[in-house]
């Protein structure tokens, strides 16, 4: 069993809602519980997939881990150190940033349009004290090679001169140039053409092999997650409902939501007969969270206890499921 790198203990992130309508419904402040009591462990050198539909809180969780946002409650431990309150401590935060980096979804927005590829990748290095031109050049060229770009081609180009796939590779190079220990990738391939995606996914695998970097791969596309990740965690309405190895989750899902999710993924094979688990209703409004288990209104197996109590993540043969049935 690999060592655990990141401990997420009962993390909560509430967003106060300012609209007057919400105030009408509840006395006092209404909250959107984007991340509600999440506990998770991320192991060294693994690629953990965090999957779920839009609004489930996965991006928020990613930002919390990257310390781009502060949790309302709970503790995050990175390599043993409690980092939850680090946002206010500038020097420690800067050190942390060397070790934990985030890759964002939109290749078209992640790069400053006024920075050349060289500028973009050298910025993290300059911030952290590496400023001599030859040193910068050396590290940038090495990194470009790692991500599969030729520095002759792209070094002095601006983002608008590059394709989506190339831009994403530059973003990855920028994130990796400080050789972080942990990378959080938030939907890194969702906005890319399909024929380009595989290259980026391979790159993540390659990075893990070459740098030993741990990766949290956030995506709404379970099929993509399956092709890259060792373990998968499924989120629904701010909570983690199931965690397991890739094969366990995909082939033998235990939580009803996971089952519905997997069975709903279309299969590119005209001869495959997919039987889907029909799921009624839609994701409820974030302000009107169902009582008890959040999933119970849409669950076929819902029982009385599901309406009143929230299930906790329990170990069931090596993986963890939050369900009473």
């Amino acid at each position: 069993m690999d060592k655990v790198m990141v401990h997420i203990d009962n993390i909560v992130r509430h967003f106060p809602v300012k609209s007057s309508l919400a105030a009408l419904f509840s006395r006092g402040q209404a909250y959107v519980r984007a991340v509600d009591n999440v506990s998770l462990e991320i192991r060294e050198r693994e690629i953990l997939g965090l999957a779920g539909e839009s609004g489930c809180g996965k991006s928020t969780l990613g930002r919390l881990l990257a310390l781009l946002d502060k949790p309302t409650q709970g503790v995050i431990r990175f390599e043993g150190t409690n980092i939850t309150d680090m946002l206010g401590q500038r020097r420690r935060l800067k050190e942390f940033r060397k070790k934990v980096q985030m890759i964002l979804q939109d290749p078209y927005e992640s790069l400053d349009p006024r920075f050349t590829v060289h500028d973009a990748i050298s910025e993290p290095l300059s911030i952290h004290g590496i400023r001599s031109a030859p040193k910068l050049q050396d590290r940038i060229e090495k990194m470009l090679k790692v991500v599969g770009l030729s520095s002759n081609d792209v070094l002095n180009k601006y983002p608008h001169e590059l394709s989506g796939g190339q831009r994403q590779r530059v973003s990855i190079a920028r994130a990796m140039v400080l050789e972080p220990r942990f990378v959080i990738a938030d939907e890194p391939v969702s906005m890319l053409d399909v024929s380009v995606r595989a290259g980026i996914l391979k790159l993540f695998d390659h990075l893990r092999q070459q740098f030993g970097v741990t990766c949290l791969f956030i995506s709404h596309d379970i099929a993509v997650v399956r092709h890259l990740c060792d373990r998968i965690a499924i989120m629904y309405m701010g909570k983690i409902v199931e965690v397991g190895t890739r094969d366990e989750i995909i082939n033998t899902p235990m939580h009803p939501y996971t089952m519905a999710l997997i069975s709903a993924v279309p299969v590119p094979d005209p001869q495959y007969k997919r039987t889907s688990v029909p799921l009624g209703g839609e994701v409820p409004d974030a302000l009107r969270v169902p009582s008890g288990c959040r999933f119970h209104p849409r669950c076929r197996h819902a029982e009385k206890i599901c309406r009143s109590e929230e299930p906790e993540l329990k170990d069931k043969g090596g993986r963890r499921v939050a369900c009473f049935t």
Partner: protein, 280 residues
């Protein structure tokens, strides 16, 4: 055609004919102001024996009440106008960018405080405030520049603040923060450069306004008496306007041409710098 951003920008700008005309006129004025000493014009201070002389072959714009060649005086006035125009607009722009950028980016109480201050300045009547300042503190030309700059920055600050508010949510800003960049760095290396275009466009137009304000002040006798300026010239020709119209006319004409040219250019610039151009 795979033009660089600069290339595209210049290409689009060149298509705006009025703006380019304005630009060339301003350049012309600029060259005059810079190379004034080597230009073959008569000494603007030289008194002659032909006061109130009509425009003629010898004196292209005639002479003023003391027989000084008006043409050369008008050309010398270019210096004062451009100096005041460019420097005060520049001061206004820089102040506005800094204050607006900080307010928009940091938000919270910083924004509240700076916005209140901006609002206060915004409602002040510029001209009267300037009259007050100059009357109290003197009319040295740098004072005039300073005052104009100080009073006109709020509009620029508002523009920059709006830009900063929008830009701080961009992914590349998040990425910079994630790399460990200090707020200062993020603000002045990422947010400001990407949001500064409308400020630049407005600042160019401000140049024209500053020139007018300076002319106004000089016309009222509040400008720097040691510097030849168009307002001053117009004032000097006021009394004798009925008979020697050219003394006020030519400086006035120059003023009109300069300010129009600057405005045309500023207009064209703001069309081209429209955010749509910046995105891919």
């Amino acid at each position: 055609m795979n033009l660089t951003r600069k290339g595209r920008f210049i290409h689009e700008l060149a298509k705006q004919r009025m703006a380019m005309t304005g630009f060339f006129v301003v350049c012309l004025f600029f060259l005059i102001a810079v190379f004034l000493q080597v230009l073959p014009v008569p000494d603007p201070f030289a008194l002659s024996l032909h006061p109130f002389h009509l425009p003629s072959g010898e004196h292209w714009m005639g002479t003023d009440n003391l027989g000084r060649d008006l043409f050369s005086r008008v050309l010398w006035g270019t210096r004062a106008s451009l100096l005041v125009g460019v420097l005060s607009a520049g001061l206004s722009g820089v102040t506005g960018i800094i204050i607006g950028g900080i307010a928009g980016y940091y938000g919270g109480w910083v924004d509240d405080l700076l916005s209140r201050i901006t609002d206060v300045f915004l409602v002040m009547p510029i001209f009267f405030l300037l009259i007050l300042i100059v009357s109290l503190f003197g009319s040295h030309i740098f004072f005039v520049i300073f005052s104009i700059g100080l009073v006109t920055w709020p509009r620029n600050a508002r523009i920059m603040r709006a830009q900063a508010l929008a830009l701080k949510k961009r992914a590349y800003v998040t990425a910079a923060i994630g790399s460990g960049a200090s707020s200062f760095r993020v603000l002045f290396l990422h947010v400001v450069p990407n949001g500064v275009s409308p400020v630049i466009a407005y600042t160019v137009i401000l140049i024209g306004q500053a020139v007018l304000v300076e002319a106004g002040l000089s016309f009222l006798g509040l400008g720097d008496p040691n510097v030849i300026s168009w307002g001053q010239l117009i004032r000097s020709g006021q009394q004798s306007f009925a008979s020697a119209w050219w003394i006020s006319f030519f400086p006035g004409l120059m003023l009109l041409v300069m300010v129009s040219a600057v405005n045309f250019f500023g207009d064209g610039l703001s069309v081209v710098l429209n955010p749509r151009m910046m995105r891919r």
